[in-house]
Amino acid sequence: MAKPVERTRECLSPQVGTGTTEQRPRSPFVPILLGDCPPSRYLWRVTEQLRLAEQNATVALPEPFIRWFGEKGWSPRAHQIELLAKAQAGLSVLLIAPTGAGKTLAGFMPSLTELANRPRRKPGQAHRGIHTLYISPLKALAVDIERNLGKPVEEIGLPVTIETRTGDTPAHKRQRQKLVPPDILLTTPEQLALLIAAPDARRFFEDLRYVVLDELHSLVTSKRGHLLALGLARLRSYVPSLQTIGLSATVAEPDDLRRWLVGQNPPGAMAGLITVAGGAKPNISILDSEQHVPWSGHSARYAIPEIYEAIKRHRTTILFVNTRSQAELLFQELWRANEDSLPIALHHGSLDVGQRRRVEKAMGENALRAIVATSTLDLGIDWGDVDLVVHVGAPKGASRLAQRIGRANHRMDEPSKAILIPANRFEVLECRAALDANYLGAQDTPPLITGALDVLSQHVLGVACGAPFDADLLFEEVRGAAPYAGLARETFDRVVDFVATGGYALKNYERYARIRKTVDGLWRVSHPRIAQQYRLNVGTIVEMPELNVRYVRQGRGMAGRGGPVLGKIEEYFAETLRPGDNFLFAGKVLRFEGIRENECVVSNGAGANIIVPSYAGGKFPLSTYLADQVRGMLADSDRWQALPEQVADWLRLQKERSVLPKRGDLLVETFPRGNRHYMVAYPFEGRLAHQTLGMLLTRRLERANARPLGFVATDYSLAVWALDDVAALFKAKKPSLAALFDEDMLGDDLEAWLNDSWMLKRTFRTCAVIAGLIEKRYPGQEKSGRQVTVSADLIYDVLRSHEPDHILLQATRTDAAAGLLDVSRLAEMLSRVRGRIMHKHLEQISPLAVPIMLEIGKESVNGGANESLLMEAADLVEEAMGQR
């Protein structure tokens, strides 16, 4: 630790200062400071500094900053200075840096230095507008930043006001912010949309200089990112000289983000780029368990004793899992093993906010030994002294793993320590691939997608709520937003038509138009009520219908009242429970008492038959990159040496009994079992793509009279079973395997299946809410999920049969193809394996097929099966009544 101290002394080179270097105090008490504060976040390595000193002597760092750095014994890091230099030269900048590199301070340096030099407002002078807007994906992050930024600002003695504005900000404070804007406003994309939709937006933002976008990599891949990009385009129309500063973790395609940060009309411009290399390489290992690694499943129960021992050996451990149900299970199992009563906590998105805040607080105070968490903890909130990250289950993506591991030792100069716990044998392969990628620095963040039309609809209405707009000008402005750079005028006009009257071919609603073109050629909101409704429905996050979980004393049943709310549970899960059922939630075994209005009433539960709620969200598909790596590992027996012995044995056995596919090939095995015939394919394209493939293959086999009975899909493989001998069909070429897997399945078959798919209905509901066709809430009254669901489904049915080309159905299909169905990935796979399908017929099940065969029966296929469930219920009745 002594070495960096010496460096810091040298770091304050005259080139960095503003000419006041002679007053700059040296740092006399450096050694003390290094011991107890996180200096590495502000440190600047001497080598970088020298390089910078040669290249760049034009940075203006005001005197109070130099004094502050000096007093702290710190000096600005190279990237902080470089960012400042670029910003002062008028550029927008993308800063890519690993966790702990002092990104936040870097992002605010241009604003703070500029504000430090700004003349004070004289009494009687009008209040100035916002100077810097900071946007983060999480409310909690905005609050965190207020605290972290407030401290240096106070210590430096800057005359800068910093405030947050989120959904939790009280109305009086929001009003005051409008009258007396802070210099720096910390907020979320939704709040920006609301500010833009206000009549005073232009005045509020006319002094804006910088927009700082934190965790940009996570914002840009979603519809929230689309809304934000449109908001930025609007801000640019108010202030053409506006500069943006994007802060991001490492991504696969930095140029996408660089374009995203600046106006794209005309297209092509890019923000400047600063990349900070990762700190010390993380120390990652895969648990080589003494225990038998299971064939299938996701619980990793076998590894609990070893995980518990690891927790005991470390100060603080974060345990990441992929889904909320896994979090609940792991938490439960850990406490069962927790003989020493270590403080182990649980954190996931369905828990009550109050409880989450308590856990976060305990974490910050280093009062916990371990915390079980889902992706809610992925983003850059500053944690205490975490010295171990345990990843239970496969990480699903190399970049995601890197970001999660970065949580340990939130300092970039020290290596993070992480253990991967594969829950089953395929996950061993996946963990190995992710680990190799991590050492190579490979990135597989998802690509950006074209701007969604439902989001554009919301934005167009929002713009109209702010001020009347000219369609030509707005079109040009929207094309400046990167996701909409390729938007066609005809599509834009259809969106405006949709916002106005619903955009239906049957022109029935002209008299009810929400926006109207007036004689001056501008579009205006037709009624103040429209703006009011807009404000209540703004945003792109449409939750699945959820119920509060209300805890009451045992024995009170539904009569119990007034207990605490433990969190939220998805309605469709609660619907499958019977009073008396026990289920796992918030780390407790709960007894289901019943549903009362929008609440699921529970009491203390017990017993052996405990159900774990499943959640629709949070299942990440295996990244394309990792899938390819896993295929490569299967094909190359030399690489098996890196695998645990029992897993390598498993692969050897597969090679002996069946075959292992070459890297680019698709292996399809067929074998009889019981009185059924099975077909197992191993595309490794992720569960969503496999589900879609399963649906389509089943349709085709049905047409070939193979009488398929069902299918099941995992991240790695897909099994279909039928009454007829499918292998014989392939042999007789009725159809051939190549024909069965032909890409043309993505044509009519996909279309026909899609139209009836519940997935499309769910997607439609989301689009309809975002586009403002149906309301998220009524003024003063939350509309229950049930009502929204029902009417969205009915609207979908009617619209599909009467106007299948409606713009909202187009948006729905695009979304579904990219999201729930992963059609693009399936298409790539089908084209890749053309002519490379390897059929192996076996007398019995192969070792590789065991994991998926164990999944059969665990989960049902969602297709036309609803009717058969009704049939069963009806038959039961008839049986009981002795009619048959």
Binding site: G502, H527, Q533, G594, I774, S801, E872, A874, V877
Partner: protein, 238 residues
Amino acid sequence: MNFSLARASLIAEADLVGIAGERAVCDPRGVLYFPDLRLLAVSDLHLEKGSSLARRGTLIPPYDTGATLLRLQAVISDYHPSIVITLGDSFHDGGGAERMHASFRERLEALISGRDWFWVAGNHDPDAPADLPGETVRELAIGSLLFRHEPSKQRVEGEIAGHLHPCARIVQRGRSVRRRCFAGDGGRMIMPAFGAYTGSLNVLDRAYAGLFRLDTLMAYMLGTDRIFAISRSMLRPG
């Protein structure tokens, strides 16, 4: 004639439901047909619900009236009833008939012509629909049957009503299925809502309290092409 013969053969004796001694077909499309009376009952059409909501700024697709009429047309041309009773809330609001697009009006008029058509008044449409044929009534008694919109508070044998939009829910194999349904106990029948945009309310909701004899209550859930008769013990709330 051929057609009605074919139809008659489709009506198997076992599919008939008894209501106060009369036999009726619960059609999976949500209509009730009394073959002996050649009477078709349909409830809660809620025509022009789309335009009714559009007036308040929710611009949902204006095709609900067309969709509802199309389905009504299909059942009428299947059964060829001589009497049609629509059990109230035929229009979503009092101005609905007036707002209706001319082409829909023509289709509706074509359906009405040649048969006895009764509009039972509902809470959404207490008055006769503007400029449409058919007779508007509070309630209507035919034989042992009494047709009205809202079910009476006290038990009335042979009452056929609507208003509540019943649906039922079952759970099998950990999965939940929810469908519109006819709800009947042998004495009284409450019909499902027929309109394209109508929501539904579970038969176990307290709004149904006291309407049925619980021991004989059945939910006739609407399947794609058949009815599923489910007894009360299988039903779930919510």
